[in-house]
Symmetry: C2
Subunit: 132 residues, 2 copies
Amino acid sequence: MIVRDLKDLKNTHRDIAHQQWTSVRMLLAEDGMGFSFHITTLATGSEHQFHYKHHLESVYCISGRGSITDLGTGETHQIHPGVMYALNAHDRHILRAEQELVMACCFNPPVTGDEVHREDGSYAPAAELEET
Amino acid sequence: MIVRDLKDLKNTHRDIAHQQWTSVRMLLAEDGMGFSFHITTLATGSEHQFHYKHHLESVYCISGRGSITDLGTGETHQIHPGVMYALNAHDRHILRAEQELVMACCFNPPVTGDEVHREDGSYAPAAELEET
């Protein structure tokens, strides 16, 4: 059994900080669960374009308020506590935080921790990272 | 993109109610994500013995307070918001809710929605269910 506390992972290699968002990787590929699990916080007023070409991701809103626009369909959905979105078709999307969003995220395949967000908003696949 | 609101799933086939806990399956196997994602609420004062012989599960505490005992090692861990436990070895365990616990749970392989908790606290594997 693995037991971890979010606050103990702050400022470790599992805590990834960008200018407008942070992500604490509570489970990574190395944990052998077959998915990774992250708590991601997006700053008030921030807007993010993401496109996970090589991963499926579900995102559940724990706190905050915002919206997501599916760039494939143009549809916008409101986000508040209790709302989950699942990118089951590698959907290119824009996420907006009207109030700081705290989100519980699951990735399949699991994130290894070595990925970087590329300019197009995607993570490289693990194989591609190994090549570079 | 799938978008679902917890409150819209209440009292649907995705909302499983037991005497001392409820579980809303926001993602099931049929959603094709490769994991399932549930919001599970355990009643204040309740105690539960679970043993997922055929699934790996991670559980993140959104709210409440309680503890988990690993019946393999005898160790007990406190649970409060921000704590996650992952049953990476099909760990037999007892979960206690001192205050109502709201937990975000990921299962691999994904739960189909047809499983039942058996007397030993496990879910049957999907294949076994199909046989019965």
